[in-house]
Amino acid sequence: MLTALDKKLLEEIADLHGEPPGAFNIRKDGKGIERRSLEGIEITPKKDQPGIDVVVNEGKEGTIHIPVILTETELSDLVYNHIDIGPGADITLVAGCGIHNPGSGKAQHDGVHEIYVRKGARLIYTEKHFAEGESSGKKVLNPKTVLVIEEGGYAELELVQIRGVDQTTRVTEAEVQAGGRLVMYERLLTGGEQSANSDVVVNLMGEESTARIVSRSVAQGNSKQSFNPRLLAHGPGRGHVECDSIIMDQATVRSVPEIWAENAEAELVHEAAIGKIAGEQLIKLMALGLTEEEAEEAIISGFLK
């Protein structure tokens, strides 16, 4: 059964109020506690290791929720999920992890998602991370997403981590085949002594494969962020990487992108900027009556939207 705390965490990471619509699997403190398959969307626990297999049949449409919550301290949860979106299917998948660490021990969730978007399929994938806890216990989240987009497939990834997570290393690997399209939005806000690393590698394999990566982050306090987005065109693909960071206080931000074209028809663009909030932006909003703090807040929340 879900406690009130569980429900709050689920609301934060998956916008869930009560039981999810469609197929779902809820994992709590290292164990699957609730699950529902539907016709054409089968969710089964893995036999040999922790995690689930999600298999979506050809042409199927629907929504799948597979949230993970941690409510104990000194818990290290590791999970392997295998997700297969059949040809021509159209799926919205909401993953994400919420941690409430009540103690002073470390609570850690490492998740590996292996996702296949088959020919002509379409996937909207959302992964939100959230952590809280009254005491000093560390909240650690290390998600790894391995994605294959087959011919003509489309995947849109929204990866969000706003506050709370003390340490994260997020790895995203994608292979985009001919005619496939990948869109990835990353949003990160860190503060205090937090640290966040994001390593992304996208391989554009064939004709007309495209990728667009938009990463926005705000680093506050003493936090440290590091980004390493890599975009490789092995064929005539097109890609655009855009990394924007607002740096505040004593934070540090490092961005090491890579674009590598191995084909003369490839078009790769990278843009990165690290800087503070522009003075004119603050003045503009203050001239509408906002205080400096309200203006800063409005700018940051827009930036991370």
């Binding site: 003045i283 503009k284 203050m286 509408l288 009556g289 400096e292 827009g302």
Partner: protein, 248 residues
Amino acid sequence: MLVLENIHLELETGEKKVPILNDVNLEFEAGKMYALTGPNGSGKSSVARVAMGIYRQTKGRVLFDGEEISELGISERARKGIGYGFQHPPRFKGMPVKDMLELAMKYSDNVNCQVLRDIGLCPDEYLERTLDNSLSGGEIKRIEIATLLAQNPRVRIFDEPEAGIDLWSFEQLINVIGSSHREDTTTVVISHQEKILNMVDEIILVEDGTVSMRGSREEIWPRIKESAECSCRYSCQLGGEIYADCPR
């Protein structure tokens, strides 16, 4: 309504102080429309920025409704009813036009609506657009004017609203500034445009950081006509040898 009294302004650029305004005295009355005109760099925008509290005068006083507001910050002046439409509005990554308009109405008593439509932008198309580089300079500028219209402050200062605005929109701009002006409103437009100078009650000529003349269009226009045109047409010669034996 708004009074600038004996305003002097120096700004720091690098290590030295540069004098910008020198003894500017201006009174803006409710219900009236004013144009601030004059050559580029004469100090017109600085006058507006001192009124808004963005620049703090080195000497002099700013009064609003008879009360001195010299020590008030930008936000406080805005909440009292002074508004300023930027000449070069900043862009905001990720912020939709809708949010900007909502912020403009947040601390305002008599908010205006339909402002996008008034300025010739289709709300259905623009409300969700973000104020970043995906919008052209002209669009950003029109949205800036719409923001000031939405805020609808008692003192409205438009800083070169026509800049970057195309032909179609310019007519709408003139119309909307005129039709949104009210009895209790002071409208100040910084402009070189003859059509704008034609619509105001009083023209203020700013030259070399001070007010050199106040008066009607008939008095002022002859004095500024020349500087309002592109001086280049008269002074420049074509460079480069390739043009040497051109017929003209």
